[in-house]
């Protein structure tokens, strides 16, 4: 069964304190891994797509990496506006997105 596990569930950082969010997955025939950001009461906002192990994508303070079993979202020198829930999702052979439960990130000034 395809499965996505995100850790930690919640993360509190001081402004400027870099850290990483983890997304572990089991899927038959990975066709893509996706990272989203979701603010309270809003729809998920697309961040990155990763298709193969070793691939990396960067956008401002965020960097996503992918291995055969997990993905990391690295946040460098975060700011309070980076506070949100970060969702990971995988697309397998069924072409249905399987979402993790998310990591709630709070960055304090």
């Amino acid at each position: 069964e395809d499965q996505v596990t995100q850790s930690p569930e919640a993360l509190r950082l001081q402004e400027g304190e870099s850290s990483s969010l983890n997304c572990s997955y089991t899927v038959s025939g990975l066709r893509g891994l996706f990272w989203y950001r979701q603010d309270p009461g809003k729809g998920p906002e697309f961040l990155f797509t990763l298709y193969s192990a070793g691939e990396e994508k960067e956008k401002e303070r965020l960097k996503a990496t992918l291995t055969k079993k997990e993905s990391f979202l690295h946040i460098t020198a975060p700011k309070p506006e980076d506070s949100a829930t970060y969702l990971c999702a995988v697309l397998g052979g069924s072409y249905k997105l399987i979402f993790g439960s998310g990591t709630r990130l709070l960055v304090r000034p």
Binding site: G41, P44, E45, L91, K96
Partner: protein
């Protein structure tokens, strides 16, 4: 930029009412999806469509139906709303089945 719009941000309905949730995308995407999001349960796929007039059941289709008469529009229908359908409903679209999905702002539905 891809834009996915949903007809209402907030909706309050009575038990037994028929409810229509509308979704429109402006990027000529082939694929459209309806999810619901609940605390502790995450996002769950209700229905999806890979083409006009075509629809497929997702993981939790019971109590819902969909309509896709035009490529840009995908409607979710609650035939007889029940309190356990109180949730955040999210519409999404993608160019191809394996591409990233772009989400709308969501509709917070409360069924009393």
């Amino acid at each position: 930029d891809v834009k996915v719009t949903q007809s209402s941000r907030y909706l309050v309905k009575r038990t037994g009412e028929k409810v229509f949730l509308e979704c429109v995308q402006d990027m000529d995407h082939e694929n459209m999806f309806w999810y619901r999001q609940d605390p502790g349960l995450g996002l769950r796929l209700i229905y999806f469509s890979y083409d006009v007039k075509m629809k497929e059941k997702g993981d939790i289709p019971e109590g819902y139906s969909v309509s896709r008469e035009k490529k840009e529009r995908f409607s979710l229908i609650l035939e007889s709303a029940s309190t356990n359908q109180t949730s955040m409903y999210l519409c999404a679209s993608s160019l191809r089945p394996y591409n990233e999905q772009f989400f709308g702002p969501g509709t917070r539905l409360t069924v009393l």
